[in-house]
Symmetry: C2
Subunit: 462 residues, 2 copies
């Protein structure tokens, strides 16, 4: 009784610098490749769609990148986020393990996404841009971008996959409440959209088409740029506020994780939490007292859907970053850029590849990965909700599963391991998925291996 | 720049006692009256449906009531809640006023309601009860009770107004995720339900019918009790953790409110925030340094819907606490217990009366009240969301309106008043109402005065 549950930091403990793991990688990242020239992409290739400061961050190997004071000001609305000790869950599982989770669900958009959308809006504003375009699937990223652009007085033009626009109105309303213009894609506002509508006036849309609409507008308009919510190095960089705060919280507790779990789609959320710890592992030392834990022994586990198993089944090669084939080739674990994963509820994990930084660390053996089916992840989320109260996103449920499994293993072995889970957001807009789980209607989709093999056959030979 | 936004307290600052304003009222509360005997209700009258400890709290005049350690343990999951300084909103309004709000939206159910549902579940468990029944309209209270009973290992049987059960599935799924059994009311599980269904098999239900179903089960089953989410003295008592924490936060800041705003339906949320300050006003002194503010000058303003204007248009008399006429007569501002308010989106403010404690304070001139139409309240909520990020509940929008109005008045007069708003919860399950507002489809209902007059004519002559 009377044991502390939440570990909070004062606002002045919001980090002043982001951590850039590129400084600590054993060998440099393989560069993105221009599909036309087959040469590495140059900063000027990216200048039409991204602000220069973000392009610089993308290729920087400086270990620390200052967080602008204006961005820290906005972070204050919800950061530092709490680190929770899941004492009720430990009791329910009867595990000797110490179970921790950070909690990004306290942000106004309800996830980790604004950690980068706010920064991207700031740099665009600073460089004189007036509008940002982006695409969004179920609307998680779109709503975070709407929030960020609103706070810096920018316009946002968001292309939302038409099927989701109709079926999932809540995040669209969020975007509009925050002042963004949200259009169902394909739209008649762009050539790419009109082209698709000519072939099928009732097209349900796809992320690929939405991306091309957003990029087309950014290319055409002088003071309009395009924003991405995952995969890129600078997106992962901005997310490291999570792990940097978390290290301070562990220092306060006098503990250090033995094992970190996170869900990985593009990978920005989990990267944000684990990269500062992975940096310790790579350098063989930590800037905080690790309470007797050897940083070299730290385990880091990606948790992904069995039906879209990029890190566990994908090939490590150069492939397009987007389904439509507009982006440069990125070196990553891919299921093929034309691979279409089954319609699982964890929409944020339906990406055919992973962030190049994460793939490099996976290849180097710094991290490992596991894959789960939907029903077992919702069962874990349900166990979590019944002990801790919070109803988490379907994406997050994937790492809840691995985290709980490990705690149960500790119950058998008696090990008092310190287990940390990346709790990326709430599931308030995903309760339909919980209902399907309660009713036994959730489908455990098989991994469509043939589809992936076919898609991979289209990968470029680089 | 760099100015603090959130004022947080450590977990060990969660209050150890609730504040009972009955100790400081100038004259005692008028007692609830047994409709049959016309005599004051005796504790034993209530024993079949409430645990004894809550009945004792209902009539206690002790100033401080200890919060059981087990309840504080659960509060730790989200309490103490943050006190925010709305610096971005101040800037947007260009007001010299200092605008503060507490934020109850961080609780797992997303509102202030678990402050009492957890306590009620605890006392029921302690007295050997195994199940709690209740009614719920849109599901806000039902989900909070499901959360509370789950954490103390009790069953919950919740009767949800049938129309809402079908139209608002999300809170029902929340209740089920937290292990409660939720039934559409009228149901065939009770005599009262079957009676209604006999007359109309497709009855959309009403709060009155749902209450009678819940009470019927509690009366019938030995170890089952009934729970209420507002109006009663002990519910307001449990909510005072809000105001007690808030006073500590003001002490930390070195400030004290000049004016407090809250939305009032039954009144439990706003009471929870303002009663500890009202106690200062009644006693003429505070236990904290008021930074030069005279506690006697403190203004406290109830904000209610113009279409259900209990405090601004109701009569102060004895009336039933529930629409169906099952409960004792309560002395309160009422529009008549059979009054049916127009279908505004702020479902939590559609109550025909107000908590007797609040009505007494209103009658004594300790508080005042204003009423607003839907569109102006959503406009205020939209202004709030665009400055502060958080999307608040339609109920809370009512006090956002008055708070912003007062800040704009300060802009004209140059007064640097300290204005505090009770921010009771998020609007994640109410985005449909925001969409209606954006589309200009919100109706500003007139106050159906004739209906109220007719309903009031039925009030008992006591």
């Amino acid at each position: 009784m009377g044991k502390q549950i939440k570990y909070m930091l004062d606002e002045d403990k919001i980090p002043k610098k982001w951590y850039n793991i590129q400084a600590d990688l054993p060998t440099p990242l393989d560069p993105p490749i221009n599909p036309k020239t087959k040469n590495p992409v140059e900063p000027e290739d990216l200048a039409p769609i991204f602000p220069m400061e973000l392009i610089k961050q993308e290729i920087s190997t400086d270990r620390w990148i200052p967080i602008p004071e204006e961005v820290r000001e906005v972070y204050r609305l919800w950061r530092p986020t709490p680190l929770y000790r899941a004492r009720r869950l430990e009791e329910a599982l009867e595990t000797p393990a110490k179970m921790y989770y950070n909690w990004e669900g306290v942000s106004p958009p309800g996830s980790h996404k604004p950690n980068t959308s706010v920064a991207q809006a700031y740099y665009n504003k600073k460089e004189g841009n007036e509008k940002i375009t982006t695409e969004t699937g179920a609307g998680q990223w779109g709503s975070a971008l709407a929030f960020g652009t609103m706070l810096f007085g920018l316009d946002a033009e968001i292309y939302m996959v038409s099927a989701s626009y109709d079926q999932k109105p809540y995040r669209k309303i969020l975007m509009e409440t925050w002042g963004a213009n949200c259009y169902p894609s394909p739209s008649d506002r762009t050539e790419s959209g009109r082209e698709v509508l000519k072939g099928d006036p009732d097209s349900p849309g796809s992320l690929g088409v939405a991306i091309s609409e957003a990029i087309e507008i950014a290319m055409k308009e002088e003071t309009t740029k395009y924003a991405l919510g995952s995969v890129l190095n600078y997106v992962l960089l901005h997310q490291t506020v999570q792990g940097l705060e978390c290290k301070k919280q562990f220092e306060m507790i006098g503990d250090y994780p033995d094992h970190i779990f996170g869900c990985t789609g593009g990978g920005s959320n989990f990267a944000g939490l684990f990269l500062p710890f992975a940096g310790d592992k790579l350098r063989g030392e930590s800037d905080i007292n690790t309470a007797g834990h050897d940083v070299q022994d730290l385990k880091i586990t990606h948790c992904e859907p069995a039906s879209c198993p990029t890190l566990t089944k994908g090939l490590y090669l150069y492939d397009h970053g987007d389904a439509a084939g507009y982006t440069p080739y990125l070196k990553m674990h891919s299921l093929g850029h034309s691979f279409i994963p089954p319609p699982i509820h964890a929409g944020g994990l339906r990406y055919h590849g992973d962030a190049p930084i994460l793939c490099k660390l996976q290849k180097e053996g710094v991290t490992d990965a596991v894959a789960f089916h939907q029903n077992e992840t919702f069962k874990a989320a349900h166990t979590f909700a019944q002990a801790e109260g919070f109803v988490i996103a379907p994406e997050t449920s994937h790492c809840a599963k691995a985290w709980i499994d490990e705690a149960l293993k500790c119950k058998k072995t008696g090990e008092q391991k310190t287990l940390l889970m990346a709790n990326s957001g709430h599931g308030h807009f995903d309760l339909g998925a919980y209902e399907a789980y309660h009713k036994g209607e959730l489908i455990d989709y098989e991994y469509p291996k043939e589809l992936a093999e076919k898609a991979l056959a289209e990968a470029p030979d680089i």
